[in-house]
Every structure is written in C-alpha cells, then in structure tokens.
C-alpha cells in the first residue's frame, strides 16, 4: 500500500465520503473534472478497507458512496449504460466541485474565528459558561424553549422502558434475499442484487456481502483489477451457514 503511511493521521478525520474523495484527489494532484472513475473507486475502496482494518466505526455514508462508485464502474463497462454512466459521473463531479467550495468557505470561517478569538470582551472569566448563568432570550428564544421542553419529554421517556426503533431492513432479510439469488444460479453481479433498491438496502447488502465473503460462503471475483465484483457460491455455501450468520443478528 504505497501511500497510506502519511494518510493514516487524517483517516479518522474525514467529514464524509466527499471529503475522503476530495482528499484522495488532492493527494494524487488530480483535477476533479478529469478523474477516472475506476481509479478513484479503487483508491476509495482501499482507504475504506484500511479503515475497516483499523476497526474504525465507519458511517453508512461511506458504504453508500462505495456502492455508488461500484455501480458507476459497472455501468461504464456496459455499452448500453454509457449514457447513464456519463450522467452519474457528471453529477459526482458537480458534487465534488461544490464540496471543494464548501471546504474553502469553511476555511474562511476558521480564519475569521481565529482572528476574533485574539480579542477578548469585558469581564472575561474562566467560568464564562457557568450553568447558573441566566439564559438570555434573544432571537433564538423559541428554540431554547423547544429544547427545554424536549428535555422534559426526554427525562420522562427515560423512565419508560426502551423501545428500539426497528430499521426498515434487517440483516436477516438481506442475507436471505442474497441466498434466494443463488438458489438457481452459481453466480451473480453485486449490481444485480441491489438493482432498483434504495440506499439503505445497498448499504446492508454491501456489508452482508463482505461478511459472506469473509466466511467463505460467497467468493468475490474481479475479471480485471478495477472491474465489477462478481459473486460466486463459496466453499461453505449452505443453508445451515445462512442460519448461523443470521442468528448473529438476532
């Protein structure tokens, strides 16, 4: 892994997938408008993998981007998807350019903040934000009220038993759906599994597939280094294994 040595320091500091992409682009001195999707997909996946190896708590947002990038890469290889690919690429470039502006604007704010913090107001005290300080109702008064009321409600809720909100999908559903795919066939493309599904389904599928590959239940193959992931039945593919994996999430 050529250049991860000095990347590691920043690895925990990405503010999101666009930030990670932009830092990769800057690091390799590329122009946003001229990025190669397969190259950036590869670089992105490697950092993600590195983050996983470091056991970092990675937000789903990063996997959504990973799936989007993979989907784009897949489309780029299919001639009739060419137009869709170009559209997606254009959108990504636009997003990255917008995001680059935001980082510049955030830097301006940081500089302003820094300059302001070199000046002190009257009666500057150590315990400036003491809890007993009266709350001053200025323009945000209504929000302060709402927040206090929310606090009251939360306090009351804390006395009730916890009801965990169920997410739209469960690992059980997703893993079962992947198994259904392989009922009558030996191989499938990741893109097929998530075709037409929403983002959170893609995230769940992506992490399930990684899990299944790790367990030798599925095998992931790529025809070339940057190509789409093709999934094959693995050595340990069986319904018994499926139930074992599912039981972990129950």
């Amino acid at each position: 892994m050529e250049d991860f040595a000095n990347f590691e320091i920043e690895i925990q500091n990405f503010t999101g997938p666009l930030d990670l992409l932009l830092q990769l682009i800057r690091k390799h001195k590329l122009e946003i408008s001229e990025i190669s999707i397969s190259e950036i997909t590869d670089k992105y996946s490697r950092v993600l993998k590195k983050m996983q190896e470091m056991n970092l708590d990675i937000a789903g947002d990063y996997f959504v981007m990973a799936s989007t990038l993979m989907l784009m890469k897949a489309k780029s290889l299919i001639p009739r998807e060419k137009e869709a690919f170009e559209e997606m690429k254009e959108e990504l470039i636009f997003k990255l350019e917008e995001y680059e502006k935001i980082t510049a604007q955030a830097k301006i704010l940081a500089e302003k903040l820094n300059a302001r913090q070199k000046m002190f107001e009257r009666g500057f005290k150590e315990d400036f934000v003491s809890k007993e300080r009266p709350l001053v109702v200025a323009e945000n008064g209504a929000f302060i009220l709402a927040n206090l009321y929310a606090g009251v409600l939360r306090r009351l809720k804390a006395l009730e038993p916890d009801i965990i909100k169920k997410s739209k999908y469960t690992m059980k559903q997703v893993v079962s759906a992947i198994y259904d795919f392989f009922r009558r066939r030996k191989k499938a493309r990741f893109y097929e599994i998530v075709k037409g599904k929403d983002k959170s389904y893609v995230v769940y599928s992506f992490s399930s597939v990684l899990e299944l590959i790790k367990e030798n239940i599925l095998k992931g193959v790529q025809t070339s280094h940057f190509a789409e992931i093709i999934l094959l039945k693995g050595k340990k593919y069986s319904y018994k294994e499926r139930d074992r994996i599912i039981s972990r999430y129950e």
Partner: protein, 173 residues
Amino acid sequence: MNKETLKKTVEAILFSSDTPLTVKELASFLDVEKSLVKEAMDLLAEDYKDRGVNLVAIAGGYQFLTSPNVYRFVADFHKRESKHSFSRASLETLAIIAYRQPITAQEIAALRGVQSVSQILRNLLEKNLIKIAGKKDVVGKPSLYKTTRFFLETFGLNSLDDLPDLKELGVEE
C-alpha cells in the same frame, strides 16, 4: 517589552478582568519591575480621567469602572437588558406552558418532577408572560395557565404554530 506595549497590555488585561488587579500581580505575571507597571497604570488613569470609563483604585488594586457621572444610564440600560434573562427553571416552566396549554400548576409540576411551581408561576404572571385562562373542570377546580401575546413578542413568534417542531429535536410527543 517596551513602555508602549506594556501600557497597552496592562490596559487590555485590566479591561478583560472582572476583578481589581494589583500592581504586584501584573508585575509578577509580566515579569517586569513593579515601578514600571505602576507608571503604566498612572498613565492610564490619567488617560481615562475625563472619559465615560475611569481607572479606579479599589481594594488595593485597579479596575476599570464606568464614570459615576453616567451611572444612571448604564444601570438602567443593563437592568432593561436583564428583563430578557431567565433562570433555567422558569424557562422550562414557560416551555411546558407554551407547548401544553392550557395546563394546571399540578400538571406542570408533575412534568418537571418537582413538588411545586407556584413561585415560578407567580413570577411569570408578574412578567406578563403567562395568564390564567379559566379553571379545569376537575376536583378542586385548579387554574389553567396559558401564554400571553407578550410572550409571543418576547420570543419573536407570530403565533404558537411557530414554535419549533419537536420532531426536529428528535423527540416524539
């Protein structure tokens, strides 16, 4: 540190401090001769002699204080400002009334998990932020409280519908 910078530094530290500071404290912090700090203080006291703010010798130290000549205005200004400040308990009570009105004192106390809110209610009534709007039709006929029009003005609301949605705060009602 030259005399000019010393004078500015002493001025800035005195300004940003909310208690009187002694020559000794400043000299030891800045690591300069006490006589130099004293000289800077004297020069500052002279500079501020006829201003709206004076450098006053107090409790063995020095402190910037507003001039007694304009005292009335300064005191009134800050008194007026303090009208907009509330204790957490009274603001929490006000929040409950705003979202739950009409509501009785007992219901408020139950929500806040306290024995009584009568002192706070009296205070809010005095400030004209809440009013009594009838009696609840239960045993004892307790008073029902509502917010006033002045409440809306104070919190910059057009109507109660403008109160932030609790869902945005991640709380289900």
